[in-house]
Symmetry: C2
Amino acid sequence: MPMDARKFRILQAIIDDYILTAIPVGSRTISKKYEMGLSSATIRNEMSDLEELGYLDQPHVSAGRIPSAKAYRLYVDQLLQNGILQSGDASSVRDHFGSRARQMEDVISRAAQVLSGLTHYTSLVMSPKGKELHIRTIQLVPVSSQSALLVIVTDGGIMRDTVIRVGSDLDSDALYAISRMLTEKLSGHTVTEALSMLNVASAAHPHHPVLEGVTEFLDTVEGDATKTKLALGGTSNILNFPEYSDVEKAKGFLSVLETKDKLIHLLENHGEMAFTVRIGPETGIPELKDCSLVTATYRLSDNTHGTIGVIGPTRMQYGRVLSILNAMGQQLSEVLGQDKE
Amino acid sequence: MPMDARKFRILQAIIDDYILTAIPVGSRTISKKYEMGLSSATIRNEMSDLEELGYLDQPHVSAGRIPSAKAYRLYVDQLLQNGILQSGDASSVRDHFGSRARQMEDVISRAAQVLSGLTHYTSLVMSPKGKELHIRTIQLVPVSSQSALLVIVTDGGIMRDTVIRVGSDLDSDALYAISRMLTEKLSGHTVTEALSMLNVASAAHPHHPVLEGVTEFLDTVEGDATKTKLALGGTSNILNFPEYSDVEKAKGFLSVLETKDKLIHLLENHGEMAFTVRIGPETGIPELKDCSLVTATYRLSDNTHGTIGVIGPTRMQYGRVLSILNAMGQQLSEVLGQDKE
DNA sequence: TGTTAGCACTCATTCGACTCGAGTGCTAAC
DNA sequence: GTTAGCACTCGAGTCGAATGAGTGCTAACA
């Protein structure tokens, strides 16, 4: 039994209706609300076929059908292929975002707020991965006689800082000299590259406290995924959807959001696509089996990119979400890239 | 009708039982489970009196009684007066916290996690208010030809940074010189004091871009409460309690947590007490009318303090929470104060 | 005078029987 | 291939009786 055009049109109508109403949709609804020119009986036969093909599920025999994950997959693939992106969202993203470019962190969390506000889903905004960032300046700022603040400015305006121990024989001017030297050597390189260069240098000057401190810090930046900044928005939005009116399910969902490591891992597996859509079980997280995750990337430069995403019920308004993510991605690239020149 | 010792003992038993079980407690329960040496009928008479005094409510006539906000208030005041603080919690806080003192931000969020993990409630950890912090070092780090990163190191190891525009005629060395000068002048003063000093300086050198940038930034640090860092932990813990099995109520609660401004405002009204306990309506936030907020402070120095707190249902294990907050406050003072010398 | 046993009364909760209706699957006719 | 008709299914909602926890009151008791 093949999947012809009519079946597809009916499936699409079912999905559209279910996304809107969240109640299982019956054959009569389709034949009345959507101008098919077919009677409910015919729709019924087609729906039976679609169920056999695995595109529809039936909660119980006397209810309508609901789309399966496979159906959403088909639906989304179709959407992605046609590239239907409303342009109206770009301007509304712009409006809500405001133009003030502040610190990376502020931008990230603001973006998460806007994203969840516009979509009514839960949003995720992740800064670029640490190890891909290019170093621009390294500066040691004296904090006390024994320690200094290590500030690393990277492209995108992100800065990472930590306090390291230095030898007590270094005063402000000495630190400044070291800073200049380090900046000269490492500027323009990625964190990963800088790390290998430092390892060479450490071999020449063993037990140099400053070098050790810097190396150690870069090491954690590279290795530790949790160093990536992740902002969430609209975490309680999920409760607006009837599929999460069960408190137990809601708890599971919210618990996942609390352990950011899982989320970061999820967002990192992005591949080279402009968009990634993971539907239900495709997320790989049991608690999210009734959720979909849509992600997109934004670029700061050729090699550094961050990820933004939206989590909602599988019956998500994929078209709208994709369009908004697209607009937000562009906006972020613009805002974060602008103070780069 | 006075409130005698026996009434108080009975009230205490009722509160203890209700905190544990969350079900209205009847006269028979009290006379059996708690060794009162009184029959249920006597208890019943006393409970009737307690209700008349406003300490007990009755959901409906054939159910037991539940403590009113007034009852919890009495209970807590008694608790605070007796200063019952189990010492066991101090060590468990220490165990969970770990000794690694990292950046302020990490410590804050770690503390929130530990706090919610130990109490099973939602925790709040707020860094000290910006304007109370003492400046230790000011450093300008070149970022591009037009802009510089302004790093301000304060006591407690907190650092605030932002990118400011500078005149294009300033190279790295010039910025360094300015940094030294600023550090020399402002070190040891609070943000508020520094601000007034800078205003004097600005009058002498009008339109100086660096001075303007620094002033503007300190201004936002002082004025903008949202600059205060606030970490939350265990936001979904509230769903474990039967009083929040209603999704609508849970949504209201979680929505409040998302707008951090309200929370910061709540935590700031702390007064000079070691602990503050706000019960139900005392929080002043309608969505939290069935919640209690317990806060405590930790100190970095004489003038700078941060706030930690726990939010849970009004039937909270106040004794335990107070004890844990006390331990955590000490721990935080220790960890954040230690790199101060 | 305080305490207790006894008893009638209240009322949320539980459970089963019942109805209602949306929706299906199947068959036969078009 | 499409459609009308019809029997059938089954979740959701309603109603009412039974249940039982808990109270308030009264009268007896120490």
